[in-house]
Homo-oligomer: 164 residues x 4
């Protein structure tokens, strides 16, 4: 059950940091390695940063790049860290472009570095789901698993929910 | 896929706290609710504290109590938080006493309150596994899932590993 | 040496929080009480929030309000939490308006809630200085104490330094 | 006002860590450098570890070593990190052996690494006091400053208080 898993980093709140010189939020490097160390993960992961962007800034080319990256590798189980704002859009896109692979998207409502982040919980959850779900495109948030095209982000509540 | 899940608390490093008056480690109350809030969990969980003990202090009666608790409820998916030192012993015991339920044990190497804890990662992982795995007794640690009787704690490395 | 100390909250990075619904930084309530509890402070403090603003947004009326607040109370030792961007401006202003009181301004480069904050260190430092310095207007940052009109914020380095 | 300050590390709760392999508390290395970095301290400090011990284990030789260390250096302002249990004993001892220097002892009720620590607050406080107070032996805890021989640790409340 312990296959090799590919992890693609795309940015999102997960990896935002606070720039103390000007008070803005920005991307530096991914915190994924630090988080996996904290979680004492012993999974066989291959990690690659595709981009470091706010998902509101994603365009068609970004999504195509992600889909190509998923299709171009031999791994059949893929975790993608992604901003929550357009996570469902990317999931839908991947559901058209990537078949026969188990792809789980996850992210965070609060940056990992800010203490009150859900990032470590989501990461643990997503890495578990990606190991055992059958091929498909999924979103792992709020402890739950959602299938692509059957989920929306409720922006008032700040949580993901199923749609009929 | 979003069934009701029972969570049994039994203590373990997970829930240990630091007594600042005498410098010892002790149990007060579980941090599970706080951790679920941090993780923005929206799972339908029913949480119950069975005991608050170091798993090195578990005896046959404790394990019987846990097995009975698992058998006495209607939920078919159960998460148990447990000290890591004898987690495999309890898993083996439950594999004899509890059938037809999906039971996942998890814990932490470092108390949740101590900053460097793997607890939140393990909790996310265990809650994901318990939703999807078929009936059986499992241990979720280090991002991995192990079947009862096929796992040991490597006390030198502080991690869980498969045994042949 | 344990006199009553007045603490005026004015906002600043110190008290900023992350709004997980829209990803912006904002003010809710001061974290000063939480910080004093963490520090096990047993000082006799009287805490009052004057405003909750980014110090870049302070105008003459804000500074006059702060000066009046300092002059209108009986306490002779006053701590002011303040954004770092215009902390030296307010200190200069107070040095003209408030005499015969020991007033220490402090703040933080990173919000208290963001884990990597200097806030608790600065608070401990500022509360110590305000107890023992003779009347005057001071800034407590980077572990140091500066007199008003003899300090600037080096915005490249993100630290305060003496000016000749 | 920004003189060179000597910092002597002697151990204490401040620097205790959690051994995740056996669940005990132990000393590895001091966290003082990490704490000063977090506090963005720009003080001119010279840091030296004298010992790494629980202050309950201090004997006469340990205290003599500390006193000698204080007397043997040219710096006139000294901060000592120390376990809280016998901090007042060491302060009394130093008040007999070390004159003409400003020596401030501080510590923590909870280890720095445990999240809920008062350590960073106490460190900021102690470093401020040591810069300004006239020669003497002091204890900086709970935001307050106490003179040696006029302070006790209230072990029921876990705080320091003046004695008549």
């Amino acid at each position: 059950m312990h296959q090799s898993i590919k992890v693609f980093i795309t940015g999102g709140t997960f990896d935002k940091e606070y720039n103390e010189l000007n008070g803005s939020l920005f991307f530096k490097e991914t915190h994924l390695h630090e988080m996996l160390k904290l979680g004492r993960s012993r999974l066989d992961l291959s990690i690659e940063t595709l981009m470091m962007k706010d998902s509101l800034d994603f365009d068609a080319a970004d999504r195509q790049l992600i889909a190509n990256a998923c299709n171009d590798i031999s791994e059949e189980r893929i975790l993608i860290t992604h901003g929550t704002d357009t996570m469902t859009v990317t999931a839908s896109y991947l559901s058209q472009k990537c078949t026969n692979k188990t792809i789980v998207l996850t992210g965070a409502m609060v940056p990992y570095k800010f203490g009150s982040s859900d990032g470590l919980f989501n990461l643990g959850s997503a890495l578990a789901f990606v190991q055992i779900l059958k091929p498909g495109i999924y979103i792992a948030m709020n402890g739950k698993i959602f299938e692509a095209n059957k989920v929306r982000k409720n922006t008032d509540k700040g949580e993901f929910e199923s749609i009929p």
